[in-house]
């Protein structure tokens, strides 16, 4: 791992509860951008209360800067909570849709692998097959690696979804 003055560069998983208003996303991304922190994935969805949204963010950078980012996020008037969930035992899921090049010769191989990853076939043509796959980020990374040699035509991932276990609130 690359080490910088402020500690080790790593991926951080954050969970936020924010006001559901225009401009909130920019304010949040500015907090990261100003400090040279890259956002790897970002999920925004309405919460049970339509006045608020839930955000799950995965971002890469050093931990001291992350501490400052969290404080700055919490300082934003439109952010109710921002929490670092990295390394915590919480439910993490991601979903991807993968379109593979698929000629009749390799179809059986591909479908076998797909079964091993519990993929759902969502579309099929004579030259392609499209799967939906869900699970932990690591599982999706592995599937990606295994499918790669067959020729991935397109892929889209939701980014990490987070949920605290039991009765605890996530954000």
């Amino acid at each position: 791992m690359e080490t910088v003055q402020n500690g080790t560069i790593k991926k951080h998983t954050l969970s936020l509860l924010v006001s559901n208003k225009p401009g909130v996303l920019i304010r949040i991304s500015l907090v990261f951008a100003r400090r040279g922190y890259n956002i790897d994935s970002l999920v925004v969805s309405p919460s049970q209360d339509p006045a608020f949204s839930v955000m799950n963010i995965v971002a890469t950078g050093d931990s001291q800067t992350l501490d400052q980012i969290l404080k700055q996020l919490n300082k934003l008037v439109d952010v109710l909570h921002a929490r670092d969930r990295t390394g915590e035992d919480i439910i993490e899921r991601e979903l991807a849709i993968i379109k593979l090049r698929c000629t009749p010769e390799v179809r059986t191989d591909i479908l076998q692998i797909a079964r091993a990853f519990s993929c759902d076939v969502v579309d099929l043509s004579d030259k392609s097959v499209t799967f939906q796959i869900s699970g932990k980020t690591e599982k999706l990374d592995t599937a990606n690696k295994v499918f790669e040699p067959f020729g991935i035509m397109e892929m889209v991932r939701t980014g990490k979804l987070l949920m605290a276990r039991g009765e605890e609130a996530t954000a």
Binding site: V18, P22, L30, D67, Q68, K71, Q72, N74, V77, L80
Partner: protein, 571 residues
């Protein structure tokens, strides 16, 4: 509140009246006309400035001098982009402002319509918060929130962008007090265990120092600070913005620490075994090289803004609270300390390393500042611009009063000092207000001379004219082999004639022998604004100086003989 339907613009004025706003600074334009129309029937006084930057710095000076929120009205597009520097300045220095921008009609948003600038989007990084009002019925709530946000917790500027159709629409009356800010938290009481920890650290320290920042002044905690310092006999350094939070003439006062701070403040910090920052944020101009900062000292940090804790300096004990209640609580549990030896040491430092300048020879800026401070008996409100004159003013202007020293610290905005003085004079008509400015910065906002004249404000501009962008020249001369580049202010006008052409009184000081006479005359002149053009020595540099990024122990007391390495820190 009235029950009759009001237009959006009238609703804005209504909330301002509830907030007891007396003055609005600004410049109108097409998309702001409804706002200005609503002003006609209101008792709020409008100060028309010559540039929007002037308006926002005036509102800033008004706010810093009074503690009240400064209000600005500007139009859309360029009117609004012209306030960005002022928003940045106020945001860096925690100044409460509400800036209302006219905007294109809602249907034209995003259409590149005439004078349509995405000002709320542009403002995000330089404001405490900003609003774009699209629904007229949100106006009452948003305006109330804007004022509440601006002047609560850690204060700051709030921008409100209001499309012309929204300010013209009729709005439903709405009861006051209906705020909706679920994500905004102001720290309540200080944590008792943190206070006890701080108290025990303070009592045990043999060589403690307090760094008092503007938070002390914003919070109105001067008495509590004085009590604490006197009770435990702790010397107090005041930051550039904290000046006036602790009396400059007090024996325990160390003056300003940091890059151009007093030698005794820096030496005390370098030797201390405990440093407590109150409402101060360990600014890089004070800390310099973090690894060399107060290495032997325990650190206590009291701040209302949680994001300041551990941002620059890791605190051994942190108290997230407003300075006044935190100090009150601390004072309640503090017993005694023994700093007798330390105080003697501080007295020796003050004696051995006083602030000084050569009085003989050509006219020195420091001498002029020293004298105006003396002749005004340290009772004037002093604003400064940015540069050498600012640092000399910080060194030689002494004040024992809060809100009597206004300077752009975090942003270092040239052009701030003079309009801020206009704002301060409006806030405090009872006071002598002196703007200490350089020939460079003054020219960035001098068009406001017309505003001061029209408003009949007896502000005094003390122009320390060295014909240079002096502070930059100093860096080039010290660290860049004196290769002067872009610092010669050739083409300066005759400032006395310029003043006269604006209806001002102009004075000139050419020699040290003139200083007292001319300053006395200028201070006695109260019929209107006046300018004193002091033609000071051009090549004097500001000392002490800690090169950017160096440690407190690397302080230079005077011009070094040998060539210096280029500084490693930022400007």
């Amino acid at each position: 509140m009235t029950t009759k339907k009001r237009t959006g613009a009238e609703a804005i004025i209504d909330t301002m009246q509830q907030q007891e706003i007396e003055y609005i600074f600004g410049v109108p334009g097409g998309n702001a006309i409804p706002l200005f129309d609503a002003l006609v029937d209101s008792p709020i006084k409008f100060v028309l400035t010559r540039h929007e930057q002037g308006a926002i710095h005036m509102a800033d000076g008004y706010a810093r001098a009074s503690g009240k929120t400064g209000v600005v009205f500007v139009t859309s597009g360029p009117g609004s982009t012209n306030v960005i520097t002022g928003l940045f300045t106020a945001n860096m220095d925690s100044v409460p402002l509400v800036v209302i921008c006219g905007q294109q009609i809602t249907a034209n948003l995003g259409m590149d319509a005439f004078q349509e600038a995405d000002i709320s989007g542009i403002s995000y990084p330089v404001v405490k918060h900003s609003y774009l009002i699209k629904n007229p019925n949100d106006i009452f709530r948003i305006m109330e929130e804007a004022f509440y946000l601006a002047n609560s917790g850690r204060p700051g500027p709030v921008l409100v962008d209001i499309p012309k159709d929204v300010s013209s629409a009729l709005v439903e009356p709405r009861p006051a007090g209906d705020l909706h800010l679920p994500g905004y938290h102001i720290p309540k009481e200080a944590d008792m265990s943190a206070l006890e920890h701080a108290a025990s650290l303070l009592e045990q320290a043999a060589r403690p120092v307090i760094i008092a920042g503007q938070g002390v002044i914003i919070s109105g905690a001067e008495k509590q600070l004085l009590y604490l310092a006197e009770k435990l006999r702790i010397p107090v350094a005041t930051t550039l913005l904290g000046k006036g939070g602790f009396p400059d003439h007090h024996e325990l006062c160390l003056g300003m620490p940091g890059m151009h701070g007093t030698a005794y403040a820096n030496k005390a910090l370098d030797a201390c075994d405990l440093v407590m920052a109150i409402g101060a944020r360990w600014d890089d101009r004070i800390v310099g090289n973090k690894a060399k900062f107060c290495t032997r000292a325990k650190k206590i940090h009291i701040d209302i803004d949680a994001s300041e804790i551990d941002k620059v300096i890791q605190a051994d004990c942190s108290i997230i609270a407003d300075a006044k209640p935190a100090l009150e609580a601390l004072n309640g549990i503090l017993r005694r300390s023994n700093t007798t030896e330390w105080i003697k040491q501080i007295a020796r430092l003050k004696k051995s390393f006083p602030l000084k300048y050569k009085k003989e020879g050509k006219l020195k800026a420091q001498y002029v500042i020293d004298e105006i401070c003396r002749l005004s008996e340290s009772r004037a409100i002093v604003t400064t611009d940015v540069g050498q004159h600012q640092m000399w003013a910080a060194q030689f202007c002494k004040t024992d009063l809060p809100r009597h020293w206004l300077s752009s610290g975090g942003a270092g905005t040239m052009g701030y000092g003079f309009p801020a003085a206009i704002g301060a004079q409006i806030a405090r008509p009872d006071k002598t207000v002196i703007a200490i400015v350089g020939d460079g910065g003054f020219q960035m906002t001098l068009c406001e001379m017309a505003t001061a004249f029209v408003q009949k404000l007896p502000v005094k501009v003390l122009l320390l004219n060295n014909n240079y962008l002096g502070m930059v020249r100093q860096w080039q001369s010290m660290f860049y082999d004196n290769r002067l580049s872009g610092v010669d202010l050739e083409g300066n006008p005759n400032f006395v004639k310029l003043a006269e052409s604006y209806g001002w009184k102009g004075f000139r000081i050419k020699r040290s022998a003139d200083v007292r006479r001319v300053l006395r005359e200028a201070l006695a002149y109260t019929q209107g604004p006046c300018l004193i053009d002091a033609e000071v020595e051009q090549h004097t540099n500001v000392f002490p100086m800690i090169p950017a990024g160096a440690g407190l122990c690397d302080m230079l007391l005077e011009a070094p003989k040998e060539k210096l390495e280029k500084p490693k820190g930022g400007t």
